[in-house]
């Protein structure tokens, strides 16, 4: 006898209990601490902060743990918390020119004022699984350089700009939009595109950036500069009349020097693609700068044919929290709509069967 | 013939930066008249057609159109809603490549019926009957009504595009090299059909072509363009038999040699 499915509540709570059990795993193994995740899985934590649009390593680490290492799930947790946070004020734009640089490379000039600095990078490691990772061998302390107090590391794009060789960075005092707080309407401003990209899915942006290199919206890119390091976050405090530093965050910035353009009025100049990501994520910053440049096609009268050049396509599909939700919603019940389709299909088949029954034998035999 | 022009173009200019697409173009189109714009590629004739049909924004000049209520506004005065309404009722546009003017994955019947549905026809049987009539008028078997244009030959697609445009009884048709993509043998049939329909329906037509033979067959008047400017205009027979501008003489001579 059919019994209507009941007890959804019990099923859900039991499922969650089982999941918690799986998350904890073998109780004889010590539980992961938030410190361990923050310190030892820091690039994963960085990704969660970047795509969760919330800079808080401890919270991100908790989310990674709660999500059992599923980073998109962790991003989702962080986003859902971020929504509820009140806005006290907007920070001043961060100044990457004053970054305390940990890594800095340029592919356009061999030597640059301030020098190139490899920093903590996987580049030039041989990708051999290191047997010492099975244990806990002592790790040597890093070599540290003395930071010259008067060190100046001008951005490569600023050097090009001073010679008029690249489009100028136009400073603006306009309040940028916020795609997490306002409804957006296409076409959107570049600041909204950059927001969407910086919190967009790393894999999606990587694939789109890659596609521009393979001819789907070519931009002839050169890495002007990638820099990673700490920058101060400052907030204007009206009561005291000046900006106060409220802390420092690590960011990765990529300035892509791209296809030059000229017009009747101005001589040709290189154009820019820009990427800025919370934490250390060169891959994403580079992909972002490629896609940013590709989406600026209209500004430079370039034909828009490739997916990476299509603002609506990129922005509507780059968010992995939205994408995963909608893809996965297919597992929710669709009985009602499926029943409607099933009925129609049966009707059509019945009609088709009746129609073929009416067909004379001779024709049917043909 | 009516004594008021249906379309009037004055001092029309289109620039792309410093480059001139077309300039100083003035002419009138009268009801029931077919005007051919001829010239070699790059002469500005397609730019001109696109400006007049508002598919391209003009840089300066006037384009006035006679509405059914006899008002004669500049097209720039019309709202986007009014313009779009004109485009799907009073005007037609026949593209050189039929795929640009058809929905290739929608049946022939729906392609023809779309304009009827767009203006509010809500009777399936009636829409189908009219679509079927129009298919026959453009010599496509009514039995093909549920087939997709992707399964049609080039000539059939072009005839379908013509039917799709004419179903709402427009008054002004723009044509951009309507036979340009077709084999010579197929061209003749499409041209014949166009000539018949234009005279049966009393259509006004502006047709862009590089082929003087097409112009001679369809048009009463001809406008010759070179480097974005009109170099000569007049009755087709007069221009063809007695071209006054050296460039026109060259064009006419070139077809006689062929």
């Amino acid at each position: 006898m059919y019994v209507a499915v009941k007890g959804g509540e019990t099923a859900i709570s039991n499922a969650h209990r089982l999941m918690a059990n799986r998350r904890r795993g073998d109780r004889n193994v010590p539980a992961l601490s938030v410190e361990q995740i923050v310190n030892q899985l820091s690039l994963g934590v960085d990704r969660v902060m970047a795509e969760g649009s919330l800079y808080d390593p401890e919270l991100a680490a908790m989310a990674v743990r709660q999500a059992r290492g599923d980073l998109i799930e962790a991003i989702f947790l962080l986003r859902a918390y971020r929504t509820t946070l009140p806005r006290f004020s907007n920070a001043r734009p961060i100044d990457t020119n004053r970054m305390r640089i940990e890594r800095r490379v340029s592919a356009t000039f061999k030597d640059i004022p301030g020098g190139q600095l490899l920093g903590p990078t996987f580049d030039y490691t041989h990708r051999l699984i290191d047997p010492s990772m099975a244990g806990d061998e002592a790790v040597a302390h890093p070599v540290k350089r003395e930071r010259p107090t008067d060190e100046s590391c001008p951005r490569v794009t600023d050097l090009l700009d001073s010679q008029g060789l690249i489009e100028a960075d136009v400073p603006s005092n306009d309040e940028p939009g916020d795609l997490t707080r306002e409804a957006i309407a296409y076409p959107v401003g570049r600041e909204i595109r950059l927001q969407a990209l910086t919190r967009g899915d790393e894999g999606f942006l990587l694939a789109l950036g890659y596609s521009t290199q393979r001819g789907y919206g070519r931009t002839h890119p050169f890495v002007g500069e990638i820099r990673i390091g700490m920058v101060d976050v400052e907030v204007e405090v009206p009561e005291v009349g000046f900006a106060v530093c409220i802390g420092a965050i690590r960011v990765t910035e990529c300035q892509m020097v791209s296809q030059f353009k000229g017009s009747g009025d101005s001589p040709p100049r290189f154009t820019r693609g820009y990427g800025l990501i919370f934490g250390q994520s060169e891959r994403k910053a580079m992909a972002m700068s490629l896609v940013d440049r590709a989406m600026r096609a209209d500004e430079f009268n370039e034909q828009r044919l490739a997916p990476a050049q299509d603002e609506e396509f990129v922005l509507e599909h780059c968010d992995n929290v939205q994408a995963t939700g909608f893809v996965e919603h297919l597992k929710l019940p669709h009985y009602v709509d499926f029943q409607a389709e099933l009925d129609l299909l049966r009707t059509l088949r019945r009609e088709a069967a009746m129609a073929s029954a009416d067909t004379p034998m001779s024709e049917a035999a043909e | 013939m009516n004594s008021e022009p249906i379309l009037s173009v004055r001092k029309l200019e289109k620039r792309y930066g410093n480059f001139i697409g077309c300039t100083d173009v003035s002419f009138d189109v009268w009801p029931g008249e077919v005007i051919a714009i001829v010239g070699e590629s790059g002469s500005g004739k397609t730019t001109l057609l696109n400006c007049i049909s508002t598919r391209l924004e003009r840089s300066s000049g006037e384009i006035r159109y006679r509405l059914r209520d006899r008002r004669f506004p500049d097209l720039a005065e019309l709202s986007e809603a009014e313009l779009r309404f004109l485009m799907r009722t009073d005007w037609g546009f026949v593209h050189q490549n039929p795929a640009d003017g058809l929905r290739m994955r929608v049946s022939a019947g729906a392609n023809v019926g779309e304009r009827l549905m767009a203006v509010g026809d809500r009777n399936y049987g009636e829409i189908r009957r009219r679509a079927s009539d129009w298919l026959e008028r453009v010599e496509i078997a009514a039995s093909r009504i549920d087939d997709m244009p992707v399964s049609f030959s080039g000539g059939m697609r072009q005839r379908l595009q013509i039917a799709r445009n004419l179903v709402t009884h427009p008054r002004l048709i723009f044509m951009d090299e309507p036979t340009g993509g077709l084999d010579v043998s197929v061209q003749a049939r499409v041209l014949d059909l166009l000539r018949m329909l234009v005279s049966d329906l009393g259509l006004s037509v502006i047709i862009v072509t590089h082929d003087l033979g097409v112009a001679r067959l369809l048009s009463q008047r001809i406008i010759v363009m070179k480097s974005g400017r009109i170099v000569e205009q007049g009755l087709t027979d007069r221009v063809m038999d007695d071209p006054s501008h050296p460039y026109t003489q060259l064009l006419v001579a070139s077809i006689l040699e062929n």
Partner: protein
């Protein structure tokens, strides 16, 4: 390392600023029935596509005295309905019910209850794709112009193609409607069986699409007409059988497969309707039966 301060949440989860923003969008939507109002949809603690739009609308209109009912596929006990109901019970501490007539707010996915809604009730629909023209024209910039200029011919091209190819309009759910003779609207993926219930409903109907960031509305007693042709009029599905549990007819049925030999039975999709009838003493045949759903066009023949 310090523990981050533990999160605390506002009544009904959303902060009051956000609720105000959403209420403004709702008011605009009510003022322009059927028009999709963009709103700055928030990240919610449930996945996109699982009702984030409906949840945001409900959270913004919910008061402490409200009585909430949540259904999915017509049923109060499907897992997502249970989950959303539990969410509001937790973050807003509101009373919940499964009885349609007791609810002041009903959040739904894919159905409208069989019990007619009453004046003063609000039904909140979860909407996956709010744009009825989306699958005819993928570009938002273009569909907005089409709505602005009432260019709806393309919708009928789709219906025409259905009839030309299948002999019937082959849209069975998310069947497009025209609101007050102006906007074409997607009623969310309810079966077209439920479309007539929207017409002149005394309840306020709100539609929320979280991922697509749109809210739209039907104020009470709004004209809602399903699109069709004069000679192929809109019809709804009819089931020529009765509910195996409560013997109801003329309701929307779920088909239940009872064995692997083709045995199946039909029961009310609306669990509250079914339970109410049973509590009143109605009893169905119970056993698996053979029943075919008949579409209205057949019934009319």
């Amino acid at each position: 390392m310090t523990n981050p301060s533990l999160p605390a949440y506002n009544f009904a989860y959303l902060d009051e600023q956000t609720k105000r923003m959403i209420r403004r969008a709702i008011l605009k939507a009510i003022a322009v029935p059927g028009y999709q109002v963009p709103f700055a949809s928030r990240d919610m603690p449930m996945p996109y596509g699982w009702g984030t739009g409906g949840v945001q609308v409900t959270a913004s209109i919910l008061g402490p005295d409200d009585v909430l009912k949540v259904i999915d596929q017509g049923a109060d006990d499907t897992t997502n309905a249970v989950s959303i109901r539990a969410f509001f019970a937790k973050v807003a501490d509101v009373a919940t019910t499964t009885r349609t007539e007791d609810a002041t707010i009903i959040q739904t996915r894919h159905r409208i209850p069989e019990t007619p809604l009453a004046h003063g009730q609000i039904i909140v629909y979860q909407v996956p794709i709010p744009e009825p023209l989306r699958f005819l024209e993928p570009r938002e910039t273009e569909t907005r112009v089409m709505h602005a200029l009432e260019e709806y011919g393309l919708v009928h091209v789709k219906l025409y193609e259905d009839i030309a190819q299948h002999g019937h309009i082959a849209t069975t759910y998310a069947y497009p409607v025209k609101v007050e003779g102006r906007y074409v609207m997607d009623p969310s993926p309810i079966p077209k069986f439920d479309n007539p219930k929207m017409h002149h409903s005394p309840a306020l109907q709100l539609f929320g699409a979280g991922r697509e960031k749109r809210i739209y509305a039907l104020p009470p007693f709004t004209d809602v007409v399903s699109l069709d042709f004069e000679d192929h009029p809109f019809t709804v599905q009819r089931f020529d059988c009765r509910c195996a549990l409560c013997d109801a007819q003329d309701v929307y049925m779920d088909e239940v497969i009872t064995d692997d030999r083709g045995g199946r039975m039909f029961v009310c999709s609306d669990t509250d309707h079914c339970e109410t009838r049973r509590s009143e003493g109605c009893q169905g045949a119970g056993l698996p039966q053979h029943c075919t759903a008949k579409a209205g066009w057949e019934a009319a023949e």
